[in-house]
Amino acid sequence: MSAPHLAIVAPLVLSVFIPVFYRIFRHIHTGWFVLPLPILLFVYFLTFLPETMRGESFIESMNWIPSLGINFTAKVDGLGLLFALLITGIGALVVLYSIYYLAKTKEKLNNFYVYLLLFMSAMLGVVLSDNLIVMYAFWELTSFSSFLLIGYWYERDKSRYGAQKSMLITVFGGLAMLGGIILLYIMTGTFSVTKLISQANTIFNHALFVPALLCILLGAFTKSAQFPFYIWLPDAMEAPTPVSAYLHSATMVKAGIYLVARFTPVFGDHFLWFWLVTSIGILTLIWGSIFAVKQTDLKAILAFSTVSQLGLIMSLLGAGAAALHYEFLDENIYTVAVTAAIFHLINHATFKGSLFMAAGIIDHETGTRDIRKLGGLMHYMPITFTISIIGAFSMAGLPPFNGFLSKEMFFTAMVHVTEMDLFNLETWGFVFPVLAWIASVFTFVYSMILVFKTFTGKYQPEKLDKKPHEAPMGLLISPVILVSLVIIFGFFPNLLSDILISPAMASILPSLLGAGDEFMVHISFWHGLNIELFMTLGVVCLGIILYMTHSKWKKIYKAIPEKLSLNQFYDFLIEGLESVSSKVTKTYMNGSIRSYLVYIFAFFIVILVTTLIGKNAFMFDTNNVSTIGIYEVVLAILVVLGSICILFAKSRMTSIILLGAVGYTVSLFYILFRAPDLALTQLVIETISVALFLVCFYHLPKLRKFETRMRFRLTNALISVGVGTLVTLIALSAHSSKLFESISKYYVENTYTEAAGKNMVNVILVDFRGFDTLFEITVLAIASLGIFGMIKLRLNGRKEG
């Protein structure tokens, strides 16, 4: 176990102690115990920077299931480190923010922080695992923790609905991704990403290439809320705001982007990858931005805006994959798309994080997030206003903030797409910059709505639940740090280029680098009077016009019928599934034990008869049979007689005693068959069992008069005779066929040498197969507790009944 392994599981370990801290230190906000960890981890991950800047990566493996090629391999490379820093950095800020956001008296803080730490571990695991199966496990864990956090206020209907929705969609995608991982394994025989990349050519020419590509992309698109799977993200806004800022804007939703980036070296050469990633990204971008304008809830606007921005990053990664077709690095203008993707990823985390926190502050201090009720808050909350305006301007792509730079680069990348001479882009390439431009106009509009509808305009105190005032310092620290980053990255973008962007690019486009090469990233403010600048100017002009006339044209949205929306489709699908499955289940789960047993036995007969016939397995061989002694015949007759007599027994007592008789006879059998341990056990067990039976049934006198003999039923008789015959046949064939040498010899030979015992049965039980025994006594203990519970615990309301 190396240090990065520890870093991944550290939050998980801390989460174990959180409930303890919560109980013991009631008067200290639990968040203070959590806060040091992400800060520590952030600092720890910073120490990897020199290594990744040299183009090296740290890799350390820990055996987990080596026989299946599944090992817990931690790999810290440029891309993984970038995400790890985001996760821990934003994580620290969010924890700090949550300390002031969630009141320690009202909220179940222990649950909250346990879930949050669970998420942190899971997310670090996703981005730092080289083994895909381990990555998948962490991936699903992020879905689970997201589910728990969205459903944090589980008493609300909407929270539960949102939690379920996000879970269903992301886990569905996760399963598809698992399918893709397994397909990749079939193609290459490895789960390691590093090895996959080195075998990219084999994969590319394999027949399973396209299915694997589609499966992996399905996982990425569901997680990163791409069209048409984005519908879970707006509903996920039911989570507390710190969670929305952390999971649903800065980190978890970017896991899909991480996945696409990670797999670019494997799949990126294919035209399907370029087309799917780029066009779905662009579609999501424009769709999200158009619908964001429609929303009236601050967090809903931010949710749609996140959807749209994720689409933007996605499309950039798709366009960047095209760079793989141009083998020369110098003047490879297409890599700018990847640069822009990474840069925007960082920028988005800063400005969207600050905007979410500002929205949380508004909600916290006024009691509403509805922009129709808000307005004129500028004078009451000047700091929040400043935070929001910087965040929103950056999001809209205005100078001098970092959003402006990445948006310029986005335009550059999209314009470059038209210049490519692959994949029919000569004909269709122009669509990308046009759509990108339209989407940017809408992005501008909703950014303006976000700030100006809230902070300017008419102040409406009568619609607010609380009297608005500026938030306390604690709530403001985190968003202030984030907006300072917005400004710093805006003015000094090249702070990031060498230390973070270039190493991350090296992980995404490794084939373009020779030995010792690195990507020269230089982000500059002023490119001269080029097409991108005019595009931005156009965005601003048209955006202002649209914002001014917003109230007039927003009625268009009403023209879209509700019934055709994706949400309606999702609800219809879920309800349909529920009702159909409940109907189907009720037809055969009718509550009668007898029918269930009939199913079991019928299935047993059918499956075994088919096997016996199909595999030609029935064999009858009278060789190698041991002799029959007179005692054995007597015992056999006794067992048969006893068991048949039970069928005709009239009273309960008789059948219990007969069962006991059969049991004792069986133990005599064990003696004859040279099994003294079994005989002893069976004898004592039989005694205790009979005592138990008698205690249970003898002391219930009132039911005794209902005792009757069993009535004959033909179907039952047929089934039982069928089962009996089949078992006889199996016993005969099992005896007659010898497929391989028995493994028992090992035990006979090693009992004394390895375990220093003489009683083989006992040695097998306590030594060779000790696990069986361990679990067996556990089962026994559970059974006894179950019995104890059934008798002692009377929870039901018998008084009412």
Binding site: L692, K758, G770, I777
Partner: protein, 141 residues
Amino acid sequence: MRKTNNIILETAVKVLLFFIALYSVYIFTAGHYYPGGGFIGGLMTAGAIVLLLITYDIKTVTKILPVNYRILTAIGLLFAIGTSAGSLIYDLPFLTHAFGDVHLPLLGELSIHTATLFDLGVYFVVVGVTMTIIQTIGEDE
């Protein structure tokens, strides 16, 4: 269970019980070499206590043997898991047992097994489980 008044049984049990209990301990310790072991020993001990329960009533027996059988079960499980996990300290796989011979004054050569500790766990669990079941049913009126 019902209070019975059976002189023959009571007298016989007083003597028999001692032998059964002794025999069950013997059969448990001999388990590694001869038929026996934790399961059988435990069941036999439980059988002895059941015999006691049948002869006397439940209150008398709890007075003689004030044992909480659920805790006994837990102790047994801990024993079994503890012995199994013990090997981890020596960097051996879970459930690796060790054995050796010790020379004791008066008793002579004695071989010691950690497997016996594991079996002791099994013994405790079996006694605990059986008695929990019988006692809870017996106490229920």
